[in-house]
């Protein structure tokens, strides 16, 4: 029995540490630790609620935009602000854009090297690589000369002795299963995706002025529409949006999806990493309005124990449903066993971990800056797989069709979804689902403008005099990594309390008082480890969740606040 430590877990956002106990080439226990903390929820207290989106947007720059969206929705919910149709369409375009961009970056740049062996690509025959590429896609960059150039590029890098980002990885590990030609194709698409992703992000720049961190506005969007003026959003700007949507469609259809199927076909026997089997989605991307759940592209709900025959409804405002616990987190409650709904969320730092530098955490005590969110006491996985499982169980035709077709192509049963590979497959299918919707969102926007509506902002309740003295609201969205909720309380025009429960808080959560492990921890339990010095399979399972640690660990410390007052003032 060996206890291994992987810290830093690289190719993620933020700082994550995994300790795992390995026996007989299997992981028998796993400990997930979030090791960074910033305190943003405390920082937004007493601020103008209209400003808060900009603060909490900085929870994460990879999930850029989605925290801003959840925040303005929370304020709009609290103050009963309705947004114009155009604003909803623009928000949808931006949301779907971010999903597609983020999922592609995740697959190639964060997750890719868990499947693709870069050094093996040096052994590939460019002619056969070309034949492979042309057999699965019409993507034009597929000549043998093209793949030979890519191979030469990797070769010169390796021969220079300066391997840069490729240095000292697990190359040659027996858990890599692709033939050299598929590896070479993967490396080529890694580089192409790196160049492509910056193009689709331009859609955010048009409506939000920049990416990362585009601008938002409570009550709508600040990007003004006027088809008869060239200093705001007019047809030229919309055409640029449409062009980028079309390019995204081609990239997903001709590169991402064929790659996923090609790679999955070599790994389809590796169906470990399924984890606890509970799935949660708040639902989102409203084709009409966030107040109309029937218009959501992703249905909400909960599936327990992989049982697709029953979907439970979810209520974000019910104090008994979503609660956060702190039994193994570095926070203290009055009642250490209590679970608190975010509107009652109370957080007090209580670091009882080892003093740095340290070798191991102690899972019997607190061991993470991440809290333990639970739905009716149950740990929940969130993300593309959760959304697809719930939509599948709810009978969503389009999603069910995508899943059934994929499983048929790979000759896998539906239970294969409950795995590391299933998580990765669901994320790719979701990219396809949303890139298909993007053109529709664009058409909705154009049609609404054509019908004579160019409004993007509702200013009726912009001024604080129009607000009730006390209000509370919840804003939610499906983020690329899963269900995202922001809960706000407003008192006399200022934020009096703010809590965000984010996707990676659900997924990376430590165990709770009853010993129930979080999704990362439970998904590692049946993950094989061929070589304890090179835990490739562990990385593969953790990366399949697309960890985002800055999101997960941003809670507050009243004690730290006192220290600071002395220091700064």
């Amino acid at each position: 029995m060996t206890r291994i430590v992987i810290d830093p877990i690289t190719r993620i956002e933020g700082h994550l540490r995994i300790e795992a106990v390995v026996e007989g080439n299997r992981i028998i226990d796993a400990i997930s630790t979030g090791t960074v903390f910033r305190g943003i929820e405390k920082i937004v207290e007493n601020r103008d609620p209209r400003d808060v989106w900009a603060f909490v947007q900085r929870i994460c720059g990879v999930c850029t935009h989605i925290h801003a969206l959840a925040s303005i929705r929370a304020v709009e919910d609290a103050l009963d602000i309705r947004i114009p149709k155009n604003a909803n369409h623009i928000r949808n375009i931006m949301t779907a854009t971010q999903f597609v961009q983020d999922h592609v970056i995740h697959f190639y740049h964060l997750h890719g090297f868990d499947w693709i062996d870069v050094l093996s690509a040096l052994k590939a025959d460019p002619v056969q690589t070309s034949a492979l590429a042309r057999s699965i896609s019409n993507w034009p960059n597929s000549s043998d000369g093209y793949f030979r150039d890519v191979q030469t590029k990797v070769k010169t890098l390796v021969e220079s002795g300066q391997l840069g980002i490729f240095a000292n990885a697990y190359w040659g590990h027996p858990a890599y299963r692709l033939p050299p030609e598929a590896n070479l194709m993967g490396v080529a698409h890694y580089i192409e995706a790196l160049t492509w992703q910056k193009e689709v992000a331009k859609i955010h720049t048009i409506f939000g002025g920049k990416n990362p961190h585009p601008n938002y506005l409570v009550g709508g969007m600040a990007s003004t529409l006027n088809m008869d003026d060239n200093s705001v959003i007019n047809m030229e700007r919309l055409n640029l949006v449409k062009t980028k949507i079309d390019e995204a469609q081609v990239f997903v259809d001709q590169v991402l999806i064929p790659d996923i199927f090609a790679i999955a076909s070599f790994y389809k026997q590796d169906l470990y990493g399924g984890g606890g089997g509970n799935y949660l989605a708040y639902g989102g991307i409203p084709t009409s309005d966030i107040r109309e759940p029937e218009s959501f592209l992703f249905p909400s709900g909960v599936v327990l124990n992989r049982d697709l025959s029953k979907v439970y409804d979810i209520d974000l405002k019910d104090p008994k449903q979503i609660q956060e616990f702190v039994s193994h987190s570095w926070y203290r409650y009055d009642d250490p066993k209590a679970g608190l709904h975010p509107w009652q969320g109370k957080t007090e730092a209580s670091y009882d971990g080892p003093r740095p530098p340290y070798n191991n955490v102690d899972e019997k005590k607190g061991y993470s800056w991440i809290k333990e969110p639970r739905w009716q006491g149950q740990a929940m996985e969130v993300g593309p797989l959760a959304r697809f499982v719930i939509a599948y169980a709810r009978g969503n035709k389009e999603i069910k069709g995508l899943v059934d077709e994929a499983l048929h192509r790979l000759d896998l049963p539906v239970t294969a979804l409950f795995s590391t590979l299933g998580r990765t497959l669901a994320r790719a299918l979701e990219s396809k689902y949303l890139v298909n919707q993007l053109a529709g969102f664009y058409s909705n926007l154009v049609a609404n403008i054509k019908a004579g509506d160019s409004q993007t902002f509702n200013g009726e309740k912009w001024e604080p005099e129009k607000w009730p003295a006390q209000a509370q609201g919840v804003g939610f969205a499906e983020a690329p990594r899963g269900a995202l909720g922001h809960w706000v309380k407003i008192n006399n025009g200022k934020v009096s309390a703010y809590q965000a429960v984010v996707p990676t808080t659900w997924n990376a959560s430590p165990r709770d008082d009853s010993g129930q492990k979080g999704p990362y921890e439970s998904s590692l339990l049946d993950t094989p480890i061929v070589n304890e010095d090179q835990p490739l399979e562990l990385l593969r399972t953790i990366h399949s969740f697309d960890p985002c640690l800055a999101c997960a660990t941003h809670l507050l410390t009243p004690e730290g606040e006192e220290i600071l007052k002395v220091r700064v003032l």
């Binding site: 103008d48 961190h213 570095w330 530098p357 090179q534």
Partner: protein, 366 residues
Amino acid sequence: MSESESYYQLARRRGVTRRDFLKFCALTGAMLGLDAAEFPKIVQALETKPRLPVIYLNLQECTCCTESLLRSAHPLIADLIFNMISLDYMEPLQAAAGKQAEEVRLKTMKDYPGAYLLIVEGSATLGDGGVYCTIGGKSSTELLKEVANGAAAVIAYGSCATNACVQGAYPNPTQAVPIRNVVKNKPVIDVPGCPPIAEVITGTIVHYLTYGKIPELTNLGRPKAFYQHRVHDNCVRRAFFDAGQFVETFDDAGAKQGWCLYKVGCKGPTTYNACAITEWNDGVSYPIKSGHPCIGCSENNYFDNTPFYTRLAMIPNNAIGKDADTIGAGLLGLTGIAVAAHAGMTAVVKNREKNGKESNHDKNRN
């Protein structure tokens, strides 16, 4: 180091023609705002130097700076990291993990003492003995000191690294501080912004790569090439400011004609950044152009210089008025806003900016 291949050799070996190589050099030079006479220096640097070893640390941050770096259009990020520099350590991108990742970092520190470039994204945290951000079980602030010790220079990349950004806003629960508060023994180049524009950071890196020294800096320690002008100076909506044509509320008739956003809170007049010239995402737009006021994300303490949507809020030494309306009313009554009022207002802004700059400057260096 001298045994390594130069960028030019690598480029030639992978089939880039000399003509394309020279074109690339010219584009890089133009982006840096260099005179054409300087281009041969870029050519020479890239022809003869090995790929610069770079260690990139992610500390207390949100990774928006990493994401922005990936958006670079000239040079393309793939060209930067595969052909121009050797990005030996960068958690979000590197293939190695855990102890193998740390081994690479240590090897670069050992093989290139005093010669590698350190880029830091994120703030240092001084609270509670470093428990608010650990990497490999180590306090990230200690790690920063260790890596900075052997670096040739340090780029503090993004507002977390230059001014502690959102986590440094009141009440700063983790005692987040800028990099230059911790790294005192090396030149620190501040490249602020939340995040900075992609071509601004890659431009700064290529400048260093080309000339082998840090670029000329403003009195706040930022590259002059990108931070010596206010966003306001070159703003696409500037003519409306000068003409007194302001958006009064979002989406009003003025907004639909692209009028100035000063009265809905724009911080362009007090923000030094390249947004209005370089623009974002390969020149597509920037916040003001897309209708939202600048929030001043490259300025120190911008999250405490709020609320965002009210002009002149919480600005020290503001003796005249609270916003453009008040100024207009004071000078001319409510009938309209004339050029004379705005000349006066610009003077107020300039004066305030000078004062604000000095106070931020002091705080950041304490």
